[in-house]
């Protein structure tokens, strides 16, 4: 039935090979600085990935429009991590070896970041990530101090939960965690901080994803009569658990991370079920002019408010911070010199700046700067981690209402 013989097919394959060998000019011109955008455009991270990548492109455009950083234009090579470590490793190899990038920006899941970080370390280039796993802070992952995390660790989320539970006067806390690194990271962080305050966790449950019902798990937790249940969960499972809890008629309160307790949850369950739920999220630096500016760009590129994708705010900040560090390091600085400036431009002391152009002007005038990001105030600790503030939202009559902000 086929007219294609082995020879033509081999020819076709050879042709495809030849296409892949199209020379991608490897010798970077002195005037450009190449970065790789490695984002989860497909796979589990796809709700965030394209926004993250578009914001990288938009931020680079802005830096270049302001005359570049350290006398160089930034050039972006975009790749898809497919939210898979294996695909990400190959994509990172391509970015490093073929495109000669000097930084990889915007890896999302911890699995991807942990698989890519040995490669960026070997190449002595930066990895700017938005992952939650604690292992990323310390050697071997961050042995060279070349990795920066723009997202709060899951552990910090847990500590914020404990602060809130104390402030709300809860005594008998229980936890429920989705069985993955993020879910368990949240509840373990909570447990440590909560017990350090002299409290006790009355019940702990870890549940498997993709179940049609969580009644058995819920019964185990409710049997301990908790006054609050702290969740490390995601939207689909939270929806089922809250519905089954409401049917049970038991009386308890909930503290849930913001990516699960969001407007979609209220829409799915209605105002009655969700009344009084406490939703916690790392606040984008919403009152800062940098956020207003980011929001405007995000609306233009994605047709959605900037607050809808907290990771896009982080990738935006990554480019601006990197560009400011390049500017501070001066023309033709190597990666070590640029890395040495990362904390200097992002942390206090220094004049607070909100855009690349303002930072560049201040640096030109010889002043120290402290970039205030759109995602957080962006002050890196010794591990390259940030500690954002956490917004505490109460769901009242079907609306998320921010009552206060917790700093840890």
């Amino acid at each position: 039935m086929t007219t294609m013989n082995r020879r033509t097919l081999l020819g076709g394959v050879g042709g495809a090979l030849a296409l892949t060998a199209v020379p991608v000019s490897v010798n970077a011109q002195a005037a450009t600085f190449r970065i790789g955008a490695l984002n989860p455009v497909t796979g589990a991270g796809s709700p965030y990935g394209s926004g993250m990548q578009k914001m990288i492109l938009a931020a680079v455009e802005e830096v270049n429009a302001a005359g570049g950083a350290g006398g160089r234009r930034i050039e972006v090579f975009a790749e898809d991590s497919q939210t898979s470590p294996q695909a990400a490793v190959l994509a990172a190899k391509k970015l490093i070896e073929v495109n000669n990038v000097r930084a990889i920006v915007g890896t999302w899941s911890s699995g991807v970041s942990l698989a890519v970080v040995p490669l960026t370390n070997d190449a002595n280039i930066l990895l700017l990530n938005t992952s939650g796993a604690p292992a990323l802070s310390v050697p071997p992952a961050n042995a060279k101090g070349l990795s920066y995390r723009f997202q709060a660790t899951n552990d910090r989320f847990g500590r914020a939960f404990a602060e809130i539970a104390t402030r709300e006067g809860f005594k008998r806390a229980a936890t429920m965690a989705f069985n993955n690194a993020s879910g368990i990271g949240n509840t373990n962080g909570f447990k440590r901080a909560w017990e350090a305050k002299g409290n006790r966790v009355v019940a702990e449950v870890v549940y498997e994803p993709n179940q049609p019902s969580y009644r058995a798990e819920l019964q185990r937790v409710l049997a301990a009569r908790p006054d609050v249940i702290v969740m490390g969960s995601f939207l689909p499972d939270t929806t089922i658990i809250l519905r089954e809890w409401f049917q049970s008629g038991e009386n308890t309160r909930w503290i849930i991370p913001g990516w699960a307790a969001n407007p979609q949850l209220i829409q799915a369950l209605g105002a009655q079920v969700t009344e009084g739920i406490i939703s916690v999220d790392s606040v984008s630096n919403e009152r800062a002019p940098s956020f207003a500016h980011f929001d405007q760009v995000h609306r233009r590129a994605m047709n959605q408010p900037g607050a809808s994708n907290v990771y896009a705010a982080m990738t935006w900040d990554m480019v601006i911070t990197l560009a400011l560090a390049m500017e501070a390091a001066g023309p033709n600085a190597d990666m070590a010199a640029i890395n040495a400036k990362m904390r200097e431009v992002a942390n206090p002391p220094g004049e607070e700046v909100y855009t690349f152009a303002a930072g560049k002007a201040a640096l030109a005038a010889g002043r120290a700067i402290n970039y205030q990001g759109a995602s957080s105030v962006l002050d890196f600790d010794q591990f390259g981690d940030v500690t954002p503030d956490f917004g505490v939202f109460f769901i009242t009559k079907g609306q998320l209402e921010r009552r206060y902000v917790v700093s840890i």
Binding site: S84, L90, A91
Partner: protein
């Protein structure tokens, strides 16, 4: 560029090992194994655990990976080889998911969903860059060559004729007074051990493993590879795996030749292009690139 090609080659050779195992199962013996990733996972975790918390030499991890993956196949064989083909497929699929759930849940051993970071890489002593990459490729090539040689010997042996007879007509084999189940168990264990070795290479190559990496998609990548290459042919397993890698990685360079598509949309276009290539391939060359040995 060289290091990128070396990375593609390494991953491709790992897939060749997996495909060889599946060719032995399906192509030669007719066992529909939908749980190949389970053996791969056991091998990866065995090697990772022994070389990190176990503090054993890497070689021990490789041996353990092969032995444990092979042993894991034994009970499945006992329980399910008396089942009909399609039931066997379901059992193996269930097996691989069970393995994934076990490594997810047994936190004391596997560190659960946090995964095992910092698995030592092969030939670290040679320093980073090309020398160690080439050494890894050399070892992978040698292991693949050994596996292929073993296969040719196997196919030509009485054992090989027997398993092919089982594939073609199990009733006839039984009528001759042979017990197909015994042969099937051995084939299953041998293919599983190969997948275990592939898993050990994978763990030491990527350097970090989590249960999420061992999803059924890996099994189906391997199926795609042997179907594209030609079922039942050793050359098919090799060519198919290389072709799969060419589709997956070559499509990254689409951006350089396709105009009018933004960088962000390219990611989705790329996955679409891979899918289209696979569909066209099965439409126009259903017997695989190297031909289907079983239908000759």
């Amino acid at each position: 560029m060289e290091a990128y090609l070396a990375a593609i080659a390494a991953i491709a050779l790992i897939y060749v090992l997996l495909s060889l195992g599946l060719t032995l199962h399906y192509g030669l013996t007719g066992l529909i194994n939908f749980g190949h990733v389970g053996f791969f996972c056991i091998g990866a975790y065995a090697a990772a655990i022994l070389s990190t918390t176990g503090g054993m030499p890497i070689v021990v991890g490789f041996v353990a990976a092969a032995v444990l993956a092979g042993l894991a196949a034994w009970p499945i064989g006992l329980v399910s080889l008396r089942l009909r083909d399609d039931y066997f497929a379901i059992v193996t699929l269930g097996f691989s998911e069970t393995v994934r759930l076990v490594v997810t849940s047994e936190r004391w051993l596997t560190n659960g969903v946090q995964g095992i970071p910092g698995i030592p890489r092969l030939f670290e002593g040679l320093g980073v860059g090309m020398p160690s990459a080439l050494a890894i490729l050399g070892v992978l090539l040698a292991v693949n060559a050994a596996a292929v040689w073993l296969f040719f010997r196997l196919v030509k042996s009485p054992f090989g004729r027997m398993i092919e007879a089982i594939r073609d007509n199990e009733e006839a084999v039984r009528a001759l007074g042979k017990d197909p189940a015994r042969f099937k168990i051995r084939v299953l264990m041998l293919g599983a051990a190969l997948a275990g070795i592939a898993g050990a290479f994978y763990a030491h190559y990527i350097g970090y493993i989590v249960p999420d990496q061992f999803i059924p998609l890996v099994t189906f990548y391997v199926w795609m590879a042997i179907i594209m290459g030609g079922v039942g042919r050793i050359s098919g397993a090799i060519v198919g795996s290389l072709l799969l890698m060419l589709f997956l990685e070559g499509s990254r360079f689409l951006r350089d030749v396709v105009p009018f598509i933004s960088a962000v949309d390219m990611a989705s276009v790329r996955i679409g292009a891979v899918g289209l290539a696979l569909v066209l391939f099965t439409l126009y060359r259903p017997q695989g690139l190297m031909g289907d040995y079983t239908r000759r």
